[in-house]
Symmetry: C2
Subunit: 283 residues, 2 copies
């Protein structure tokens, strides 16, 4: 059962259809019915949650606890509850408390937006919160959708996402505000380099997902820390000098060696154990 | 005549070959000879500059005046001197003074790197410094290579490039240093989103052109100003709050409407007159 009718609910229901018996539920039954009809899926009321092996809550992090409370009384023992929250620490604990002890809870973070057309090869982070036995069936379900699965802890997830999303988005957004307040759209068009064109595409993607971008900025447990670090680095580089340029060169050399697999090919490897997270990559 | 044997000299010589009689010259004749042989072009000594209609100096901005002085005594009246400097103000004045009054001087900024394979549709900024009559033949030459020509002033060029290059590169570099010092390469690979993958590609391009990136950071006349602005914007957004998010949304909406032409299609329009540069895009 997929609870919700937003973009991620639609995407999940579409990808799961054919692999599992999918039902859409929502606080607003008429919307659930409409979406279910469009997708050729069943619709169900939240009270029917006990009929399903998997219950996916798609509410945003600030309304997830409430969504969990709403289904809590209707879940059957041994079912698996999931969510798709983009932040974990501070959220999964509260959701976990809202759920009855006889269900498992596995928190997901799909590292792609709801408008993604082909999810094959994309990454989903799987954070087991309660019920170790539930991890395998969840991983199987995700792999069945063609996703690359990364099993992690809430803490490692948030630390990684502070760097991969919080600082990343923030530096794009600060640049966007700077560019828009310095140059008219006509001059941006006139002088755009190829590299600016791909930055503008990235900014259009951030604009489309701005609600989630803001949510991650505000709720990630390591957000404050990484923002201070980004600000300090920017200040140092703006000042310039040999030391700053040496740091730049080292960072670029290190990152040039990174070859992520997120760009398409499906890979069916999931390391079960969260790795230790070094706080610094320098020796 | 192309003076120099670096990446941009090679690219220009390769693109001009077939359209014009091309000779390579250099302070190091053996290198010029080797490059000329590889390209099937002529080689010449700097002293032969007087044989050519166009003389392109490819030295970086901090050695451009010196390069100009070296050819100055050998130029014939009515020839056109060009350079490919990525910054204009503070550079073109000195180069201009080093050249004899009987030649024209048109400064170029190709908005693409020396490793570009197909230059068709890419942008070259043309900044007339001395000899209005020389602009037309230069624009013709550039269009003949398939380039999109933007005629500008040194001041408009530097102001635009402060936003399109200085702040742009700086925000990427500050993020690179932050990412590399927060996450091991293994974790970056593990958690990379599609969006991070394209940022990593952008960082690899900056790494390849780091000498020019640094030169632009240090020499652009409006660099100091835009860096302060970027830093302030980052600080404000890191703090968050409704006002900050409203500014972000406005900027993203404005930039989403920009559709630059730099991404491939050759367009043969060049506005002759530099536009006035508004310092703010907000109403």
């Amino acid at each position: 059962m997929v609870v919700g009718t937003g973009g991620m609910a639609r995407l999940l229901a579409r990808c799961l259809r054919g692999r599992a018996h999918v039902a859409i539920a929502s606080r607003r039954p008429s919307e659930a019915r409409r979406l279910a009809r469009r997708l050729g899926a069943e619709w169900a009321s939240v009270e029917e949650a006990g009929r399903f092996d998997f219950v996916v809550l798609t509410a945003p992090p600030d309304r997830l606890e409430e969504a969990a409370s709403r289904v809590a009384g209707h879940l059957r023992p041994g079912s698996i509850v999931m969510d798709v929250s983009s932040v974990k620490r501070g959220v999964v604990e509260r959701v976990s408390r809202a759920l009855p002890s006889h269900v498992a809870y596995v928190s997901l973070h799909p590292l792609f937006g709801p408008s993604t057309r082909r999810v094959e090869g994309r990454v989903v982070v799987v954070v087991p919160v309660r019920g170790e036995w539930a991890v395998e069936p969840v991983v199987e379900l995700m792999r069945g959708m063609g996703l690359r699965v990364v099993v992690s802890s809430a803490d490692e997830h948030d630390m990684a996402m502070a760097a991969v999303q919080v600082a990343h988005h923030l530096s794009y957004l600060a640049y966007a505000v700077t560019l828009a307040s310095s140059l008219s759209p006509e001059l941006v068009e006139r002088y755009a380099t190829r590299s600016l064109c791909s930055t503008l595409s990235a900014l259009r993607r951030l604009y489309r997902g701005l609600r989630v971008v803001r949510e991650i900025q505000e709720l990630n447990a390591y957000g404050g820390l990484i923002k201070v670090r980004l600000l300090e680095n920017l200040r140092e580089l703006a000042r310039g000098g040999e030391g700053a340029w040496r740091r730049v060169e080292e960072a670029l050399r290190l990152l040039a060696s990174v070859r992520p697999q997120a760009s398409g090919r499906a890979k069916a490897s999931a390391s079960r154990r969260p790795q230790r997270t070094p706080t610094s990559a320098s020796p």
